[in-house]
Symmetry: C2
Subunit: 495 residues, 2 copies
């Protein structure tokens, strides 16, 4: 073919940090989203799809580590006939758009408003291995319900959702904590606000990584981290740091004991006691519906997002073990998180509107199911009808038409049919379970050849001569039995 | 509630030209996309999801009316630690990304490569009524198949798809034309290239609007348009314009006669005759599979995109009549279009790769089904369990849990339960078919009240006193019969 050597050619590449998804990667995700939507719908949540583009003003600065206005987001300025207009940006999550949607449409929406949303979000961050700048989120939120019954409902829904998509009971746990309890702890420590309080909050966020002893050091004089660098501490005495450690390690065998430990940690703090009371109500509501601690548990060691949320905080973890990239066993970890945030709508309207919600990391959940071999095992390739005689394309099209009407995925080879080997290579690359062949000789005799490619591949690997004779992988059948025979072979392959 | 009057509040608004989609708008589209994906999959097409963001370089300048590099797209420049990087942009269609994907991954993809893609695309255009800057496309393309069997297959698939989503046979027509025939016509006119040829192409594009006589005037001296402005013509004599008019009006009662007319129009032009031959092959292939002219027809009056495509061009129109905004009857019109474009991948690799495909306008198709009342009739609101006693939230949660496990959409009222009227207003706004009530008295007696809200609303409108007595819309049943009675009422409502 002719090459144009004059014009410089554009690079055929995704931008850095973006990727393409093919075949089952796309359909398995779509199927999971549909399953999740089914559960959310049954719980009374309504679908919402806002646009990918928002004004920077409406999105606000909710991303962590934001110094510059557009840091972390993909943003650009509107150009209206040469005049500069609004700054627009791609949404970085589905919560900020929900706040905008609720504020904009609040007169037309039910109160409380339960909504779910699923779709891509974008982050303008440095891409890394396995870290992409576009990824899916799948959120459910209840806006306008102050009662922690709304939080309990979302925890129950999260458990139901995980089981619906194929994570069996026992392989996951939803853990619940409460920011108000932490606020109570900080209050009894005399750290209601100020720089030291913020330092304590940042330290607590490291509990996942450094554990109780690490937090104790970081709250005190400081700590030598794994890289050998010395991290300065907050400067509290061991006594002062006590309530924080008590809070983080208060989880006991039963909810009642955990709640007693928390009550001790918050002492006389009113906000702290309110938080403990909320956790107790959540535990009671869930227990009454049969969601016991094997599925949902009060666990004050959940610290992710504790700085962001204003009330109950929840996180779903998968508890089965996988091998990490270095071959070590570890728990799969978090696949969903959320909590109560009562201030998001206030930015727009001036009125505080209570809200609580959860976000499921769909791609992580898909990865988990693939790890467990629950999806991704089978690619449903099409039956490939080969082209033996270019002039009889209508005959071959007729065959695939019959197969498709019978609900069987099928296609005619549409490349250059000259080389039969290429057609079989194509069928192999497509993961075709069956190839259909009708040459001039077969046409004359009113028959077709049907090749079982799965069996054929197995036989080619390790069959004895006897097996070859006993279990043929190619069948000659009358043309009229095309659909029947193909179905029979497909059924056999699925067993 | 406290208002913060110091900080200026952000506007709670979508950017101009964007909108939010709620509830059934979202779920009906998702359902249609799943149905379309099902047909595409059965035809052997594989799913592809590329990212929303591409480099401007990879997207190229395929949008019409593009003078400036970023005109028509939302674009921004990468900022890499202060250094300016690549220009990135939101994709404006799904074809340009396909070309990039194919060029990038061609060594790993089957040849031919049948792929489908569905998702939003973005256009940086002036928004207008009903014209949005983000909308859905749903494409299927075959890359690497030079045979017009690929085009015929896509026409057949388009017909199947329309029937699958609920457009019955007779309510749609797929029309097929061929750019090569037009090229032949231009060749016999001595207009192979140059400014006059481009002017003729632009004029043909107006055939939809101005008809044969209008095109004749515009090819000649010019024409007074509806607004009273005089549009200069191309300057051809009536004789010279003849072949173009013959081409555009060559559709006859049967395909054979149409093809004869086209042969006459292209005279001895080799490219023209090749084009007619391709149309004949397409008609034969489709006829052999039972797609007669009631579904797919050769029609040279299809001019949309004729300038863009390089071979066969197809368009699907819905033929039933609707009332336009001024109350006049008109045909619903185009819902899908496509054709063969053999040069798109060449930009990247220097090698011409044949490709053909179709794009379905999902939002227009949804609008058509809504017009016909085939979707959008019913909103499946949840059963609402009211809260009569705030301290018994666990009881109410238990009820919705039972209903959900039985597959019934249900929710507890999570707003402030003080005012029962608000709860019933909420149920109304939610489109709830049933409300469940269990006050202290009912609890004591082991019963619940179940209100049929649909029947209740009907009765309130026009029932006589006798009917009120005969057909109660509220039932007292034992608590244990909750699911049974709710299901009975729901079944009755669906009849």
């Amino acid at each position: 073919m002719a090459k144009d050597k004059n014009a410089p050619k554009p690079k055929a590449q995704t931008p850095k940090g973006f990727r393409d998804y093919f075949g089952t990667e796309v359909t398995e995700r779509a199927e999971m989203l549909a399953q999740i939507a089914g559960v959310y719908h049954r719980y009374g949540f309504d679908a919402l799809e806002s646009s990918a583009v928002e004004t920077v003003e409406a999105l606000g600065k909710f991303l962590p580590d934001v110094d510059r206005p557009n840091e972390g987001v993909f943003a650009w300025q509107e150009d209206e006939d040469g005049d500069k207009g609004d700054w627009l940006a791609l949404r970085y999550d589905l919560t900020a758009p929900l706040a905008r949607v609720y504020a904009q449409h609040r007169n037309d929406l039910p109160l409380p408003y339960r909504r779910f949303a699923m779709g891509p979000v974008w982050r303008n961050e440095k891409p890394g291995p396995g870290r992409f700048r576009q990824f899916y989120q799948c959120d459910a939120d209840t806006v306008g319900a102050p009662s922690v019954a709304a939080d309990a409902e979302i925890c129950a829904m999260l458990a139901d959702t995980l089981e619906q998509v194929g994570i069996p009971r026992g392989d996951y746990i939803v853990r619940v904590n409460n920011r108000k309890v932490l606020n109570g702890v900080l209050e009894v420590m005399g750290l209601d606000e100020g720089a030291q309080r913020d330092a304590v909050l940042r330290t607590i966020d490291k509990f996942d990584k450094v554990g109780a002893s690490g937090v104790r050091e970081l709250l005190g004089k400081g700590r030598l981290d794994a890289s050998g660098a010395y991290i300065d501490g907050v400067g509290l005495s061991d006594d002062q740091a006590g309530p924080v450690l008590a809070f983080l390690t208060s989880k006991a065998d039963g909810a009642a004991q955990t709640l007693d430990n928390l009550r001790a940690a918050v002492g006389a703090s009113a906000i702290g006691l309110e938080g403990v009371q909320e956790l107790e109500t959540i535990a009671d509501l869930l227990e009454a519906q049969g969601y016991g601690p094997d599925r949902i548990v009060i666990d004050p060691s959940v610290v992710r997002g504790l700085g962001y949320y204003t009330g109950p905080v929840f996180e779903a973890e998968l508890t089965f073990e996988i091998l990490d990239e270095k071959g070590r066993k570890r728990q799969f970890g978090s696949v969903a998180g959320g909590g109560r945030y009562d201030d998001l709508v206030k930015r727009f309207t001036g009125q505080a509107v209570p809200a609580t919600g959860v976000s499921i990391g769909v791609d992580r959940l898909l990865a988990a199911l693939r790890e467990k071999g629950r999806i991704g095992g089978t690619v449903e390739g099409p039956v490939v009808v080969t082209v033996m005689d270019r002039d009889r394309m209508a005959d071959y099209q007729h065959m695939v038409g019959e197969l498709r009407r019978a609900g069987i995925r099928a296609e005619v080879y549409l490349g250059n049919p000259k080389n039969f080997g290429n057609q079989m290579k194509y069928a192999d690359r497509r993961g075709a379970p069956i190839a259909v062949i009708e040459g001039g000789d077969e046409k004359e005799r009113g028959v077709i050849q049907i090749k079982d490619l799965i069996l054929g591949a197995k036989m080619a690997e390790n069959a004895t001569l006897e097996e070859w004779k006993e279990r043929p992988s190619q069948f000659e059948v009358p043309r009229g039995q095309l659909v029947e025979k193909v179905r029979e072979i497909l059924d056999g392959q699925r067993q």
